[in-house]
């Protein structure tokens, strides 16, 4: 059989009937040489409209009902895109999660994909019909509708690409590809032709906003090549490859940053085995993703334990920590929501020394104080004052000459 490409179109790409027409043209063109499977998000703005309706009834509406509600956005766009293709003489057929048995866990709003009925999709392709699959949606064993959480459509696309053995998964979005950093902050930020999966993982989880972390992890695990490109402009986008090819010369390949973060510091906790788990276990149970985790060296058997979460999880985490106070035994809880993260990412970093100190020097020379430092093999993350983020990103972009 001809090779299969999975194409995923995000909310801005299908934000209006005119945009849906444009996307149908892209699909039509691609379908001339390849078998195409399409995954589609809700029309831009639609999910927010539905969320607003729900919030009228409850600030924190029942998650089962919430998922049933917001998942309709993808059902609408998939049917419309199928109609758009049909109007151009291309056979197409929309499928909801339930129709292709996109089975997930029953963890509403944050469901994880378990399985998908590849046969139904492959039979559609064999019939020279393009399946238009709803992203973001899933269905539990009991038949309840779930959603995969923010950016879940990327995960849907990669999961399907893995399951059908696609040649590649093309993630169409409103940017031309992955840049060294956000061009809004650094105007001469450069588009990367390719990037390693590992780098992309670090970039995505740090808020590069182009593709969901979980989708990149999925792609990595199932060895699915992913390309990120624009549905608005022509161009080859950025290929996210398993292999470390073009990166050998660049120490730092990109700078990611993320605002809307909250830092929790538990001051004076016991430096004993199990403390970290006692703190983070209940938070993980509440399905909150913890980001940076730092524990300083202990003084007199007491230490400070710090972690960051997304701002929207602040209330939940606050409640969880107060509930577990007896268990954890800390002196003070310090919460700071005026912070942001900046990260240097680069597969070349691991073979280079001095990247960190060069970064710290450049920032200190520009009066950016670093509150927390946390490093991995291919990433250096710094937590700084939120108002200094743009400046820090600009300084680092120049320091590592990413515009070249």
């Amino acid at each position: 059989m001809t090779e299969i490409i999975v194409q995923k179109f995000g909310g801005t790409s299908v934000g209006s009937v005119e945009r849906i027409d444009a996307v149908a043209e892209i699909i039509k063109e691609a379908s001339k040489s390849k078998k195409i499977i399409v995954v589609v998000s809700a029309m831009g703005g639609e999910t927010n409209r539905l969320v607003k309706l729900a919030k009228h009834f409850d600030k924190d509406p029942d998650k089962r009902e919430f998922d049933a509600l917001v998942s309709t956005g993808e059902t609408v766009s998939s049917a419309l895109l199928a109609m758009a293709l049909q109007s151009k003489g291309i056979k197409a057929r929309s499928y909801s999660a339930s129709q292709i048995s996109m089975r997930t866990t029953d963890s509403y709003s944050k469901a994880k994909i378990l399985d998908v009925d590849a046969d139904k999709i492959l039979n559609t392709i064999k019939d020279n019909t393009i399946p238009i699959i709803t992203g973001f949606q899933g269905v539990t064993a009991g038949g309840d509708v779930t959603t995969l959480g923010r950016g879940g459509s990327d995960t849907t696309a990669v999961a399907i690409a893995a399951q059908v053995g696609a040649e590649r998964c093309d993630i169409y979005t409103d940017v031309d590809g992955i840049f060294t950093t956000d061009p809004k902050v650094v105007p001469n930020a450069k588009k990367l032709d390719s990037i390693t999966m590992e780098e992309m993982l670090e970039l995505a989880s740090q808020g590069a906003k182009v593709m969901q972390t979980r989708a990149v992890e999925f792609a990595n695990k199932y060895n699915v090549p992913v390309r990120v490109l624009s549905s608005f402009n022509d161009g080859s986008g950025t290929l996210i490859s398993q292999k470390d090819e073009s990166m050998e010369n660049s120490v730092v390949s990109g700078i990611a940053f993320q605002k809307d973060q909250v830092k929790f510091t538990l001051h004076g906790v016991g430096d004993t085995p199990g403390t970290a788990f006692k703190i983070l276990g209940p938070i993980s149970d509440a399905e909150v993703e913890v980001d940076v985790i730092v524990q300083n060296v202990s003084v007199d058997g007491k230490t400070d334990f710090t972690f960051t979460v997304a701002s929207e999880d602040q209330d939940v985490v606050n409640k969880v920590i107060k509930t577990s106070k007896n268990d954890v035994q800390y002196k003070d809880l310090i919460v700071n929501s005026d912070i942001a993260k900046v990260s240097l990412v680069g597969a070349g970093m691991r073979s280079q020394t001095g990247v960190a100190s060069r970064a710290f020097k450049a920032l200190s020379e520009n009066d950016v104080n670093i509150q927390i430092i946390c490093t991995s093999e291919i990433k250096i993350t710094m937590v700084i004052d939120e108002v200094l983020v743009d400046k820090a990103v600009q300084v680092l972009h120049e320091e590592f000459e990413l515009e070249k």
Copy 2:
């Protein structure tokens, strides 16, 4: 088990979040003494919004995709209504057609209900949880989403009431009940406390607009008492009963009328067995509902065959008739879309003579010319010029003293 009431809320009843709150109050109140099952339409205007999106791509979009699209309106309102009840401390759970296996034929946009999984609904009730079921939707054996056609939510409600053995099906709408005729045309039209199923059938199919014909037929067939009442005002509405109770004194109980009709006359067809079938068979195959059918006495073995359909079916019927010209052999086809139907309905009519002639006299004295007359045991239908409808209704309402 406590007796079950099925409550159905139409589009205007759930037209805004504030209306959904009001409906939740009605349900909450009713749930104090009965077990409640709710069937809900899309929020008023939502279906039209979706239809408009579809029409951008195709004037006559693919029906499978169209149904997948427009059925999302009910999914949205059912989830929102469940949230509204939960916010008032009432346990509720939304169900789509697929989740309660509301199986239908695969005749998209005009699907007929075959079966429904009453167990899932009954188990929800047993758990003191109110099931909020999407009206209008169905699902085929193959898992495709279907819709039941205009006003299909009424049919959903009655089908569920029949299947679970409900005590009654309450159809909440934006009118206070069934009136002797449309109060917009005759200001002193009177609300009826009860009406027989047969009368309602005639009234509904003649465009009384309060409840879908198919739903009334369903109710009749499965012996489900139905009540029509307002979700905006208090009141007991109109009970549609199997028995002919309160009607014994009234000869005519109501006047129905319908504009948006087209009359087709096939002039000079052979008055031979099978002609009617040859004409109507292909129209029925095209899933068009034919309304009044009249054939005049034959002259020289040739006759005129006349029938009416809804205006929106005019193009389809035109095409069908032209295709079957060789088969049917008619001299001329006369199409008139400036017509309307007016019907007198009353169970008392069958035991009374002179109703028809009294009606004809009143109309002729007021210069309303009758083009076609067609009578049944409890109904007299007259096709007249569309511009004379209001006048005809007023004249008849007065003639039969329905305001009393």
